[in-house]
């Protein structure tokens, strides 16, 4: 179990980055110091971590499938499938670029993504319950409480962005941001940050990873799941991170638009994807010379070649952007910026995970109910006021937005102060209250 709970690190660091500066005898130590496998023997000298991921996946698929004796077999079987199906289906409506076959014109695109991804925790809850062991049931309960508490916040945060966009169509949302000359993160900063926090809590990432805290619940809802079902859960987890990241990117970070899409003298930014790929390829070539084994060297050469080929495609698509390749150009460049923004969003997740210690469950609940939900509500009202000021009274939009954002932040300060006072006087009873209501075993 120990190696499985660490394995998630490998997809995050699947970049074929190898510390080739080590002399050959210590090259194996590379995987000893890595977070992925603390005590596993190195299976093959030549295998890179990229191949290690493949090997892990194969192992998980062929692992013996055990179902606990008292488990509810039907639910136990179906739960990981629910999570995985929901995760993949909701990705279907995400538009990576302006021209994208699947997601082209779903009228309610963004709502569809949010709605279907709300089914992912359902699989977690059912799976935790079905194993019929204490840790898993508590993990399931926590997951539910967390989902219900933070879904409201996320919903209101999205509403504050949608008020600005005035549509639910994914493509129209991004095009409105182009027309408005601003990403909505600048017009509704409070909305973006409340969504960020709520999305961390919804996807159960640290510091809010209560459903599967290893120090309290072994692996929480996933304790008794192994093999392919465990990996389905894990894939669903990562897919849901990508889903919330793409929702945040679409609504607040300008989707597939490059930075400053309307400023013509910044069109040189269009060269960034090509240069980025050429730099990545050059780095691989530079590293390839220092590899201890022939296989690693060849592997890096292959990666470098792939980078150069894609860079050439990017470079060719740019000048040929008139008619025949217009769509290809849009898709390539749009997808690059979109993926870059998603990566940045997920990097914030990882950054917080590495930086902050885990909260306590009652702290999480108090943050959600006492601060974030009122704040998100106030923010929606304030964004509405700003919009009304702009459209009815002709006020300057930026001024209106800044003033109302300040008002929201002031309200947040008041909320915090009020909450501190309240918790100072009623702390004991409050902690007892929330832990009784949400989780009999917490605290």
């Amino acid at each position: 179990m120990a190696d499985e709970s660490k394995a998630p690190q490998s997809p995050e660091s699947s970049q074929p980055e190898v510390s080739g500066s080590l002399p050959p005898p210590y090259a194996a130590g590379d995987s000893l110091t890595s977070p992925a496998k603390p005590d596993a023997p190195v299976p093959l000298q030549a295998s890179d971590r990229l191949l290690q991921t493949v090997a892990d996946a194969l192992k998980l698929v062929f692992k013996e499938d055990l179902i606990p004796e008292n488990a509810d077999r039907f639910i136990f079987w179906i739960a990981p499938i629910i999570s995985m199906t929901a995760a993949i289906t909701s990705l279907g409506a995400v538009a990576f670029a302006s021209w994208f076959p699947v997601a082209r014109d779903i009228n309610i695109g963004l709502l569809f993504v949010v709605g279907v991804s709300a089914l992912i925790p359902l699989g977690i809850v059912l799976g935790g319950w079905a194993t019929n062991t204490h840790d898993s049931v508590i993990g399931a309960l926590r997951s539910t409480a967390q989902l219900i508490s933070y879904e409201t916040t996320a919903g209101f945060a999205l509403v504050s962005g949608l008020l600005l966009a005035g549509t639910l169509n994914v493509r129209a949302i991004v095009e409105t941001q182009r027309a408005d000359h601003a990403w909505y993160v600048f017009l509704a900063p409070v909305g973006f940050f409340t969504y960020l926090i709520a999305s961390i809590a919804e996807t159960n990432r640290a510091p809010f990873d209560f459903p599967d805290v290893e120090s309290e619940l072994v692996a929480g809802d996933m304790t008794a799941h192994r093999g392919i079902r465990w990996s389905l859960y894990f894939l669903a987890d990562y897919a849901s991170m990508i889903v919330v990241a793409s929702v945040g990117t679409t609504l607040f970070l300008g989707g597939w638009l490059r930075p400053f899409p309307n400023v013509h003298w910044l069109a040189c930014l269009e060269a960034v994807p090509t240069l980025f790929l050429i730099a990545a390829g050059a780095y691989c070539v530079f590293r390839a010379g220092k590899q201890p084994t022939r296989a690693r060297c060849l592997f890096l050469w292959a990666v470098a070649l792939a980078c150069f080929i894609v860079a050439a495609i990017f470079a060719l698509a740019y000048p040929l952007s008139p008619l025949p390749l217009q769509k290809m150009h849009e898709v390539l460049y749009g997808a690059f910026w979109f993926l870059l923004k998603i990566s940045a969003y997920i990097y914030i997740f990882m950054w917080l995970r590495f930086t902050l210690p885990r909260f306590r469950f009652d702290q999480l609940m108090r943050l959600g109910w006492h601060i974030l939900i009122p704040l998100a509500l106030i923010n929606v009202v304030d964004v509405g006021i700003a919009l009304a000021l702009t459209s009815e009274f002709g006020a300057n939009r930026w001024l209106a937005m800044i003033v109302t954002s300040m008002a929201t932040l002031g309200a947040a300060m008041l909320l915090l102060r009020w909450n501190d006072k309240y918790s100072a006087t009623a702390s004991a009873s409050l902690v007892a209250d929330s832990s009784i209501a949400e989780d009999p075993h917490a605290g």
């Binding site: 509810d72 039907f74 639910i75 179906i78 779903i106 009228n107 309610i108 709502l111 569809f112 949010v114 709605g115 279907v116 709300a118 089914l119 925790p121 359902l122 809850v125 059912l126 319950w129 079905a130 049931v137 399931a140 309960l141 539910t144 409480a145 989902l147 219900i148 879904e151 639910l168 209250d433």
Partner: protein, 174 residues
Amino acid sequence: MLDSVIFYFFAGIAVISAALMITRRNAIHSAVFLITTLLATAGIFLQLRAEFVFVAQIILYVGGIMVLFIFVIILVRPDISLPQVRSRTHKWIALLVALVVGVEGGVVLWLARKLPGQGLLLPNPAPADKLPPNTEELARGLFGAYLLPFEIASVLLLVAMVGAVVMAKKRTDA
């Protein structure tokens, strides 16, 4: 043709899982089949080009209410804690209700026979590009023509929520 195949597919799933939902002993199994019913109904909404209702059904009922149901079921464990209530009176009441609903459904279908087109049995939706955007239409209805009923319903829900909180609070104080 394809439309009716899709319709009967979703309708069949909805009916079968509804039947399974009321016959299961295990409350969680019932909840899972209820979720299946709700999803199948959502599919029918989508087929009728009511996209907003489709997503609202999934977000509210499946993502919100059913998760809350399951939360309560896991906490309270009705299979263990509640005694099974069974009596003859219940059976008679159930039979009566089933009869009334059955007759109602029959009357609706019989009346629908006379409607233009194919009636209610086979949905015959207009092509998607001829319909106004569903979300906007719904918003115009809710915040325009039916503003007062909508607000009254909101206040009613708020009252119910506050009432529930007050009642729960009393019990913990006592």
